[in-house]
């Protein structure tokens, strides 16, 4: 019963959430989040520590199940193999086997995703992130920045339509950040939702923002949310004063309109 009446726009919504709620140890960490992010849009997820960003992202990625509410990514329902294939997750941790080499790590994940022509793709990615020459070393001895680059390659190995990232800039040097921009954050066609504290950086990539406060969406300039899930959003948004928008630049706000391709 997730979608009775969303006709033509449906194909263009990459990330859709309705009344997504998650309780953790008696605390409601995410409450009633509605999202409708267009395909190809780049959305920054903002909010203080403990605002529920990580939990929201983990739900969207399919790592934890919502207490209530529904979600859909690239048209696939929660828990489906299609959704898993459509999503790439760049997490807090690099999610890499420290005792395997970069090459072995990528080979393993390529096999899990049944990537066709894996060797060529792995080579291309390793070259792009600057690890081709170090492909046989143990991952454990790589620096934090290279871990993060390899993690980026892991995320992209199956060419996901949607990338969900939790503070992707962490540990990256300026060159690494540029790489992140090229390969993910600013890549045309890729839908990105990334939690971040780097306000200075979001202006270079985000087409809109979603701001969480204590598990609620208090600001949403990103998306079609208002158009598609208007009743809920209309109730949620004005309830909170717009005290939080100080750091968003006019460019970010104006970029919103072009979000839907």
């Amino acid at each position: 019963m997730s979608a009775p009446g969303e006709p033509p726009l449906a194909g263009e919504v990459a990330i859709r959430a309705r009344a997504l709620t998650r309780q953790y140890g008696g605390v409601t960490v995410v409450r009633g989040v509605d999202l409708a992010l267009p395909a190809g849009s780049k959305t920054a997820l903002l909010g203080a520590n403990g605002a529920g960003k990580t939990t929201l992202l983990a739900m969207l990625a399919g790592l934890i199940s919502p207490t209530s509410g529904s979600l859909e990514i690239a048209g696939y329902a929660r828990g489906s193999a299609g959704l898993r294939r459509a999503v790439g997750v760049l997490g807090h941790k690099p999610m890499l086997y420290e005792d395997l080499s970069p090459l072995e790590n990528l080979r393993f994940f390529a096999r899990l995703y049944r990537v066709s022509d894996a060797e060529a793709r792995i080579e291309a990615l390793l070259r792009q992130v600057g690890l081709w020459l170090r492909r046989h070393e143990r991952t454990a001895i790589l620096s934090r920045g290279y871990h993060q680059r390899l993690a980026l390659a892991r995320v992209l190995i199956h060419d996901p339509a949607v990338v969900i990232a939790d503070e992707p800039e962490t540990g990256l040097d300026p060159e690494g950040v540029a790489l992140l921009d090229d390969l993910a954050l600013r890549r045309p066609g890729l839908t990105v939702l990334a939690a971040t504290h780097r306000i200075d950086h979001i202006q270079s990539w985000a087409s809109g923002i979603v701001r969480l406060d204590r598990g609620r969406v208090v600001e949403d300039t990103s998306s079609l949310t208002t158009a598609l899930v208007a009743p809920e959003a209309a109730r949620a948004t004005p309830a909170t004063p717009a005290s939080s928008g100080a750091s968003v630049s006019p460019e970010t706000a104006s970029a919103t309109g072009e979000g839907a391709r």
Binding site: Y24, G25, G26, V27, A48, N49, G50, R214
Partner: protein, 237 residues
């Protein structure tokens, strides 16, 4: 569940305590005074009125732990975790009572406190499994969902394992030549049967009451933990 609870909760506070009091008194009086002295075993046989009901109700408590564990995994409602823990704790208490009363009875009758008899061995393993369950659950806080699920899975494996343990231990003890211990099991006289029945009611109501009290304690601990988390959450946000 909410409505059922609201209806049952007053019974736990108002009805159960007097029932437990009356039934326990009746059992003690019945076992110590009213029931006739057993001819062969003597006074120590009076332990049976506690021992046998405890053993049966213990299985009920462990069964309820497994049921509540299934419900927790299914419904993701932490109240089922509190229920499972409480029943396991009371089950462990009953199990200890069974082993202890059995040992006290065993010394004069069998000449030893303990023997690797099939039923004794099974009961001891049962105690170990549910102590392990309580340990596994207690490594994390009252509202740790992951630890609760872990413990629930363990409780389910445990309960399925029980019949296999019983079967295996019985095979082991019977296929092996052992001095066979006779447990006299003639038809009980009516007075004894009546006291035994009272014993069942007493232990059952006691166990229910204890589980109820423990459940309330666990729920309170969960609420405290939730409040603490909420405070942390607010301070951080």
């Amino acid at each position: 569940m909410n409505q059922l609870l609201r209806r049952l909760e007053p019974l736990g506070w108002n009805v159960l305590p007097p029932v437990v009091g009356v039934a326990m008194t009746a059992m003690i009086v019945g076992a110590l005074a009213a029931a006739p002295r057993e001819i062969i075993e003597g006074e120590v046989q009076r332990l049976m009125y506690l021992h046998v009901p405890s053993a049966v109700i213990m299985y009920g408590a462990f069964g309820f732990t497994a049921f509540a564990s299934v419900m927790l995994l299914w419904k993701r409602d932490m109240r089922w975790d509190a229920a499972a823990r409480s029943a396991a704790l009371v089950g462990v208490f009953l199990c200890s009572m069974v082993l202890l009363s059995g040992a006290i009875w065993g010394k004069p009758i069998w000449g030893v406190y303990w023997t690797w008899d099939a039923r004794l061995t099974t009961t001891l393993i049962l105690l170990l499994i549910y102590v392990a369950y309580l340990l596994a659950r207690s490594v994390a806080g009252p509202l740790d969902e992951q630890a609760a699920r872990y413990a629930a899975i363990f409780a389910i494996i445990g309960v399925v394992d029980i019949p296999i343990i019983q079967m295996s231990v019985r095979w082991w003890r019977t296929l092996h030549p052992q001095p066979i211990i006779f447990r006299p099991n003639p038809a009980l006289p009516d007075e004894m049967l009546l006291v035994l029945l009272i014993g069942f009611i007493a232990v059952a109501s006691l166990a229910t009451w204890l589980i109820f009290l423990q459940w309330n304690t666990e729920r309170a601990a969960q609420r405290v933990s939730a409040l603490r988390a909420e405070v942390d959450h607010r301070e951080m946000a």
